[in-house]
Symmetry: D2
Subunit: 381 residues, 4 copies
């Protein structure tokens, strides 16, 4: 594919802005955007600087003016829009979860393969250079066999019963909330860094707030601390999706692990924290402090700063500014989109794809199953 790539974004929430910024940084054209109504679409086009608005996401994903479609809608629409786009031969970048069941996610993965298009999912934490460095170190074998894999992913934006969001509603967001939304990121990163695959798990889930405000607020737009407002005026609805999930697991290569995922941990904003305990060293990555990596050894713990001159090639290529000048979330997104565009142009495929998303969908199904049956559950390979 020659010339400037033409990208369109279905959806106009917070993450759509991040996608749009990444597309622009990659040097592509942002040809269009859609939102929940035509009017909102027009507003979004103006805000995001897109060339035009589409009346519907369905129109957008099949438009002849578009090479690559980004799907940034609520979760429930991911599958139908991705299917439409794939059938129209578009390259697709779809927000996770790719679908709200493992079966649908697997089906889309097969369809994308048949269509021979690029089908990417923004597991963007892989694009922190120090996460890539963690992978390179663990995969090289230099740290010895991986014995333990553990950590948590904690947020607080749903800590109050007055907080709500479309993700709380299983029809719109899917049957799993905390695990599907953020646990999936942790598992993707853990498997990607170590090369291990989780083969069985036991989980417990908790719905801390059995009722929540029925007011579906916007993306990540929880009221400020203390500002729950006049709660009596707000009607509430029963909640079935989980606020938190605890997991134990085993991997195909003999490691054991544990994970806590929570959206109700006050003071924790987006704490994805992962430790790999190998025979000779531990490796700790903390997404909120992504510019360093901790390498623990018996004799001392090394704090590695991101410095391209010292990193493994796969990490160094992502290290685009000098050490001490923090790279952040949007830089990850930009690097991810650059990789997607490289792949669209026929280059090496380095980005996370639909198969990775189908993998986390299978894990999500296993978590819900295990929590329901209160027993160890196998995860399909």
């Amino acid at each position: 594919m020659h010339g400037q790539l033409r990208v369109a974004i279905a959806g106009a929430g917070m993450v759509a802005r991040v996608h749009a910024d990444a597309v622009r940084r990659a040097g592509a054209r942002l040809v269009g955007v859609s939102a929940s109504t035509p009017e909102r679409g027009k507003a979004a086009a103006a805000e995001l600087g897109a060339e035009r608005a589409y009346d519907t996401s369905e129109d957008l994903v099949v438009s002849d003016e578009v090479d690559i479609v980004h799907i940034c809608t609520p979760n429930g629409l991911h599958h139908p829009l991705a299917e439409l786009a794939l059938r129209a031969g578009k390259h697709v970048v779809c927000e996770k979860p790719l679908a709200t069941s493992a079966a649908q996610a697997a089906e889309l993965t097969r369809l994308a393969a048949e269509q021979r298009v690029v089908a990417a999912v923004p597991f963007v934490y892989r694009y922190h250079p120090m996460a890539a460095e963690a992978r390179a170190r663990v995969r090289s074998g230099a740290l010895g066999a991986v014995h333990l894999l553990h950590g948590h992913y904690l947020q607080d934006w749903l800590a109050d019963p007055a907080d709500s969001n479309w993700r709380v509603d299983p029809v719109v967001g899917g049957p799993s909330r905390a695990f599907a939304d953020i646990g999936s990121h942790w598992c993707d990163l853990a498997e990607w860094i170590t090369g291990h695959r989780i083969t069985e798990l036991v989980a417990s889930t908790a719905t801390v707030h059995g009722e929540r405000s029925a007011a579906m607020s916007g993306t990540f737009s929880a009221p400020a601390a203390g500002g729950a407002g006049d709660r009596q005026a707000v009607t509430t609805e029963a909640v079935t999706t989980e606020d938190a999930a605890h997991l134990l697991f085993r991997t195909d290569r003999g490691a054991t692990g544990s994970l806590l995922v929570s959206q109700v941990s006050p003071g924790r904003k987006n704490r994805l924290w992962l430790e790999v305990d190998a025979a000779d060293a531990s490796v700790t990555f903390d997404q909120e402090n992504p510019e360093t990596l901790l390498l623990g050894r018996r004799a001392s713990t090394e704090v590695l700063s991101r410095d391209a001159a010292l990193l493994a090639p796969d990490a160094a290529r992502l290290s685009t500014v000098p050490p001490g000048h923090p790279l952040g979330y949007q830089d990850c997104f930009a690097a991810f989109v650059r990789d997607v565009h490289d792949a669209v142009r026929g280059g090496e495929v380095r980005h996370p794809g639909f198969a990775d998303a189908a993998r986390t969908a299978a894990l999500t199904d296993a978590v819900l199953d295990s929590a329901h049956t209160r027993s160890w559950t196998e995860v399909p390979a």
Copy 2:
């Protein structure tokens, strides 16, 4: 009991030195000590500054010259020595685990109650002022209901297969190693801080090194990093006790939790880390940084320094030097022994006791059971 208390210590390892120091700081007499042989006992008496040595621990625990007996031997001797001492009417401070089965621990608890003596177990992490502050804050209800309870206790002193210790041998150390030795501390602290009781759990355990050096080295005397020496010359033995244990649990008051305990996490020395996520705030305590407490709220995270003027009474009484002048492990021990001596003199009972140790023994049994049966297991109340 009037006059200076007379204390004797059975055992002469690292922790015996810590006990001896605490006894001296409390103003008591250290009248005697015993070790594995009479000769070692004499050496220990000289080293610890005890007035005399006893030929055997059995002699020591029943001696007429002694008011309070401290049992600091390998785990397998805790139960018989404690029983002897109790039957001789001594006050007893026994290192944990009190016994290597829940049944024996419960039996000792009953015996101590019958004998109407002080029977204490050094769950000394309770004596960090900021741990006591955490308890006061959570128990006051000011933070709201406790929803999640999680953390880990990580060490690395057994990370190498060349590392060994009497604790590895189930005959000497008991059938559980990592959980009984350090997981018990975490659970004691978690239940003590929150007032919740773990009612059921599911666990997986891992014996990372199936064989270890057969050379039983001294307490906490793992070789330095890289210094495993001439491994070929060392014979190895099969290991049955666990290097690590992962737990999920539920409490009597509706919280869910998770815990990882490990003695094979390189770079982690004694990282007991505990987070309580309540409705309005989270509380995080880290034993390696015990002089601060983190109170996470949606709006910000407060870092509380230990300052007697600002702490709850139960924490303030332990805060014996100004803020910024670190209190440490031995200060906890000293405060614990002062509380024991107060109780011996008829004062308020504030120290952790045999019932607390029996509680952790019951948890240990449940962990081993659950790991064996691969299922959720109830913990007796």
Copy 3:
């Protein structure tokens, strides 16, 4: 000015890439670039995705095809190119130091005012939301009078005598190195946050390595640790610019302060660390951990996370992604360029400008004077 703004960049080093990225994110056209030779200019145009290359920076800064000129050359060329651009009526974004003497910097400031163009300097650390929050809190008076102002700015990229760079050469880089290059950032941030102005100072400077490799390496391209290579083959040159500068100072509003600036502090990458001790609270900002702000009070230290819902308006507008999703250096640059473009279009002037750069040039002159005369030196208002 209507339509898409047309931007050109003189210079093709590391920081030029950062400027180019920010220009693209702001939605402007990158019409051209120049480098030290026409060939390098062409390579840079390809690399940066500019529409064309200019043979010389002199051509670029006066080109009719350009609305806004970014000057990213070595320091010695800042003044002549900025003067040319201003006289051609261009809006100018000039890297700091604006000039290598206070007099020349003041002259450019006057010229920019006469030409009524936008004249901006990327003191981009002002664009970290939490730096803006620090300013809002201090300026509001809510923390009480500012008593002490202190900190450091430490790097290590010139720690080895084998490290060199055009900045080491006073002809190319100017007579001050560490202070002009990074101390200027600290002082700009400190004055901007507090509203205080440094009125007198005493300084000592240190040239730790009296000789350095004569090989002028590229921007920020120090050899990796330990990799000084075959030093005998490298000729060395005498160094006159400072590796480090220590300052004491007083402000117009009665505060005292101190600052250490160093490019030879091993392990420190870009540690701009600033503490403001006011009557009721201290405020600490650390550029390497820019997503939090520490508010120290007697009772506790508050760690504020960047959360738009909770920040002052000037900070909230910069907080473009949810808390816990790190913003970084390039995001600051993008926000700075957006502000510059707003000003070019006639909007509010919020960006740091030539007067700010002239201010830091005056401070630089005072530092060199004071170090030379070994005495307190007044800084012109």
Copy 4:
């Protein structure tokens, strides 16, 4: 000297309690204590567990029943009591500052030498194992030449004008407050670790609160945050001693340095923070986190935990419990007193002595001189 050493303590404030605890841990007898009145002396004897009270400190320091005298009175009494004790042939442990002028401190140092007694001053931060490790590493030359020496010592206990203490009054506390009280510790530690001597300095001092409450409160007994109480009822007095001091300095071996000392930095409790930037590595020690040492190198920063197996001999001997079991301030004091007792018994002299205190008194004089004359001032060797 054979048998149990007999120790008496003049003074009964916070630090006297710490001395008493250390004496007891060293296995010595605490034979007596004195306070500002005979009644207070009796109360102190009961509280500290001393065998008896002396009516006056003057009686105590010359008593035949005493081998070693600890002087823990307000500063103004240090010199006369130490002189009395020395003339009576006692071994003396005197709190710093040894005297309120350099001349008097030097005079006591000479007298102690003439009397051939042990004369110690508790610069106890030297007794943190990781401070000793810092010394061993720097002194070994393994890190290369020391270029920069910098840091701060920040407290907040006098941040409010309602805070007062005998130290504020120059007659009781001496003409320098912040520097003499805590700056002296920083300088002692910096010179002790590096072997460099400060040869000249320039200082500015600040008395942030020109008036303070006239109520002389007890040691370290500032009112709690926000609790200044009914200020109108409190009379105030003019303050002449400094709340803060900023220093630049040069050393005899060619390093430059800077230091900020403050007792008015909200949120800072006892932050003695010291960084040594040498050619190949930086070393950072933070007294509030004394169990780790940071070794910064270009390639990474190493976090060393206190582990006797890995430390230099002078540090390992102080590392009395396993890593991860924090040692603290009182453990430093105990090790200091053990060293003093070893010296009294004729062993190696390892403790800081009067000459060290006289050194910091000379530095204090130079700081006050330089601040007064606003010029670089030489420090006598």
